[in-house]
Amino acid sequence: MKVKVMYFARYRELLGVDTERLEGDFKVLDDVRQALVGKGGHYAVLAEQNLMCARNEELCRLDEPLEEGDEIAFFPPVTGG
């Protein structure tokens, strides 16, 4: 399965990338997160307890099922307003 992964704010800066494409045997969103954390280095940030995520521009949980071509985003807690 191919997915598009986006990062925002502190995660984007730390990883030095805002978008990447990933291919793997992903069933739920957490599979993508774990694959990324497994790459080591700064990807360890995606193991943060308060990480937020979205699938196709909607907030979701880590157990969200995925479909081919999904747009996934990882980001720290939001701070607007």
């Binding site: 925002f8 704010a9 308060n50 979205a54 939001v78 701070t79 307003g81």
Partner: protein, 148 residues
């Protein structure tokens, strides 16, 4: 219902007045304006940059407004949030709610801000005397959103 995400400044007074417009069924307008402070968590703040997730931001705000409209009898709702570089004293966000009676307008405005602070994909990066820093999410904001 209108949701606007923009870099340009806005006039809070004009926004509040527009909530009433020509609708004489409106008996109450509640407007919240959030401003950039010149201090935060013990440091002076010289300015900030608002990052967001284009596309998702508008959807997330619209979803919050729809939920407010389902919970309270509202006549008009406006949510305006700025992005990009902002200086202390500038307005960042406006939430306007119009209804026939005040209680619905007060509660809905409060609800929208609490949900915006915890569900809309915006992130603040402050310029301080110690250099730039990302603003951290607060538990008190999570608690406030949990009340509804």
């Amino acid at each position: 219902m209108a949701v606007r995400v923009q870099q340009a400044a806005f006039d809070p007074g004009a926004e509040v007045n527009a909530m009433h417009a020509a609708n004489v069924g409106v008996g109450a307008v509640v407007g919240f304006v959030g401003y950039v402070r010149d201090f935060n968590d013990g440091l002076d703040v010289a300015g900030m940059f608002l990052e967001h997730y284009p596309g998702m931001t508008e959807k997330a705000l619209a979803k919050i407004v729809v939920e407010a409209e389902q919970r309270w009898p509202l006549l008009k709702v406006e949510v305006l949030h700025r992005i990009g570089a902002l200086e202390p004293g500038e307005p960042i966000v406006f939430v306007g709610v119009a209804s026939a009676h005040r209680q619905a307008a007060f509660d809905a405005c409060n609800f929208i801000m609490d949900y915006l602070k915890t569900r809309a994909p915006f992130w603040k990066k402050e310029s301080t005397q110690d250099g730039p820093r990302w603003v951290e999410g607060k538990q008190s904001d999570q608690d406030a959103a949990g009340r509804w």
